[in-house]
């Protein structure tokens, strides 16, 4: 590992100021992704500004009926939080389906959202990778890409975003609050992560030195009946092949409202806007769910090794909505 300077700040503005002066510096949360990437020489920060204990570690109810999650809340604490489990169960399920008990105890909410892709070439400095070193080429397109994206890819990069939490947050229309050199911003989760395009080195719309301070969940009554389903190669402790986060509000057989997001299919958590629009106001049933999933996935452009993800994503969405429809068993 290369050496670096380690700093802590007593205020969030102090932390932002420290990083603003260090173009190659980074914030440190639990370190479960960043320290790993530093060991692999993929991340080479010359300054770490430790913000794990600086940002809030509380989950609080907002006056509008929503919930604010401090950036420093651990993944375990968040998954176990009674408010989250009662109002947004898919969020708790998403966290619990990721990593391990030990990792979730160290990992922070903000760090989880900003973890980097698990594309094997990104983590291997001996291979070309446009995300790690722009302009060197993409090893995955002609190589091992079974786990990678089917939607929104570019000729430069076909990576997926690995966070399960982010998928649930995108489905819930959460917003991220940041403090940066240019002041405070509120960024919808649906816009935080970006598609690779010609600039796969940029995972998100954040600018250097933007500190995530909190994540706000809007009130969404029907999210109390929501579900996060993760399909993976092992029963536990594996990154996703495909995930679906969904909540549905059905009254007298008619879909009043619905939220659907896919994980494991794109460079960002994929909100299924088309499927939602098709379903809203119409009857709730297997045929409708299938048609909506097919419409959403019509733009999928899989590679030779990951075409299986298209039917897998469709079936996972249909099955998840059907189970939500059945309700408590």
């Amino acid at each position: 590992m290369r050496t670096f300077r380690y700093e802590r700040a007593s205020t969030t503005s102090g932390a932002v100021a420290l990083l603003a002066e260090a173009p190659h510096g980074a914030f440190l949360g639990g370190g479960t992704n960043l320290v790993d990437l530093m060991k692999l020489d993929v991340a080479r920060p010359d300054l770490l500004v430790d913000v794990r204990r600086l940002t809030s570690d509380r989950v609080e109810e907002l006056s509008n009926g929503g919930v604010r999650i401090g950036a420093g809340v651990s993944n375990s604490q968040l998954a176990a939080d009674p408010l989250i489990r009662r109002r947004y169960p898919m969020l708790s399920q998403a966290l619990l389906s990721g990593a391990s008990g030990q990792l979730r105890n160290l990992a922070t909410a903000a760090g989880n959202l900003l973890q980097r892709t698990r594309c094997p070439y990104f983590q291997d400095v001996t291979t070309p990778c446009n995300k790690r070193e722009p302009g060197t080429g993409c090893s995955a397109i002609e190589g091992h890409h079974r786990d990678l994206a089917i939607l929104g890819t570019s000729p430069e990069c076909v990576a997926t975003h690995p966070s399960d939490l982010a998928v649930a947050l995108v489905a819930l229309d959460a917003v991220v609050r940041t403090e940066g050199p240019d002041g405070e911003r509120v960024i919808p989760m649906t816009e935080l992560h970006r598609l690779p395009g010609p600039e796969p080195q940029r995972d998100t719309v954040l600018r250097h030195g933007d500190l995530i301070t909190a994540i706000d969940l809007p009130p969404l009554a029907f999210a109390a009946c929501s579900y996060f389903r993760k399909i993976r190669d092992r029963a536990s402790y594996a990154f996703a092949l495909v995930t679906v986060a969904a909540a549905i509000d059905v009254v007298d057989g008619v879909v009043r409202d619905v939220r659907i997001a896919f994980g494991g299919v794109a460079h960002k958590p994929w909100r299924a806007i088309k499927a939602e629009e098709l379903l809203r106001g119409g009857p709730a049933g297997e045929d409708q769910f299938r048609r909506a999933a097919e419409a959403e996935l019509a733009d999928a452009r899989p590679l030779a090794g990951n075409a299986f993800k298209v039917p897998l994503a469709r079936n996972t969405m249909v099955r998840t909505l059907l189970e939500l429809l059945e309700g408590p068993r």
């Binding site: 590992m1 050496t3 670096f4 300077r5 380690y6 440190l28 639990g30 370190g31 479960t32 320290v35 790993d36 060991k39 692999l40 770490l48 430790d50 794990r52 375990s76 998954a79 176990a80 989250i84 489990r85 009662r86 109002r87 947004y88 169960p89 708790s92 399920q93 619990l96 389906s97 990593a99 391990s100 008990g101 030990q102 990792l103 105890n105 160290l106 109390a224 009946c225 929501s226 579900y227 029963a235 536990s236 402790y237 998840t320 189970e323 939500l324 059945e326 309700g327 408590p328 068993r329």
Partner: protein, 179 residues
């Protein structure tokens, strides 16, 4: 860059100067001579390095020592009190829950942390994993006495065993969980 840190490890306080790149695992093993926690993968994937850090189980190979200055650390070696093995240590021996033993300190410390988490009502992917709970988002959490084997496997999935002693690890943990 170097930094001065203090730790309480298995009940004893230490003050040491570390290179900021030093992980808690390397500080324990290389600087304090406590080789209880093992280095398996050094990338957060195997759980052999699990320690209790301020009461919670974590992968010490990804925790920078400087970021945890002042922490209370417990390794498997510190679980025994007054020469009396911890109930989980005794259960592992009784159930022959290891072969080479390399993963064992991590397994035992992880099980200690895991049972505390279950006792605190923390859910797991098994308890909170069904849409069928109709919005309650899982039960209020199991009491330790009713952890199923599936539940133990899920909660312990961050600890790999290359000798595949799982068939004996789960019953060893269950013996303690069920009291």
């Amino acid at each position: 860059m170097e930094a001065e840190v203090t730790f309480r490890v298995d009940g004893t306080s230490h003050r040491l100067t570390v290179d900021v790149r030093t992980t808690v695992l390397d500080a324990l093993r290389e600087r304090l001579g406590n080789t209880s926690a093992k280095k398996g993968c050094d990338h957060g994937q195997c759980g052999a390095c699990t320690v209790l850090l301020d009461g919670q189980r974590v992968n010490s190979c990804l925790a920078l020592a400087v970021a945890h200055d002042g922490a209370e650390i417990v390794t498997a070696a510190g679980l025994a009190s007054d020469g009396e093995l911890h109930p989980l240590q005794r259960a592992f021996i009784r159930h022959d829950a290891f072969q080479c033993g390399y993963c064992t300190p991590g397994q035992i410390v992880s099980a200690v942390g895991m049972l505390r988490e279950a006792e605190a009502g923390w859910p797991s992917a098994v308890t909170a994993g069904q849409p069928a709970d109709g919005g309650s988002g899982g039960s209020d959490g199991p009491t330790v006495g009713i952890l199923t084997d599936d539940e133990v496997r899920e909660r312990m999935s961050g600890n790999l065993c290359r000798c595949a002693a799982y068939a004996n690890i789960v019953p060893a943990i269950q013996e303690v969980a069920r009291g």
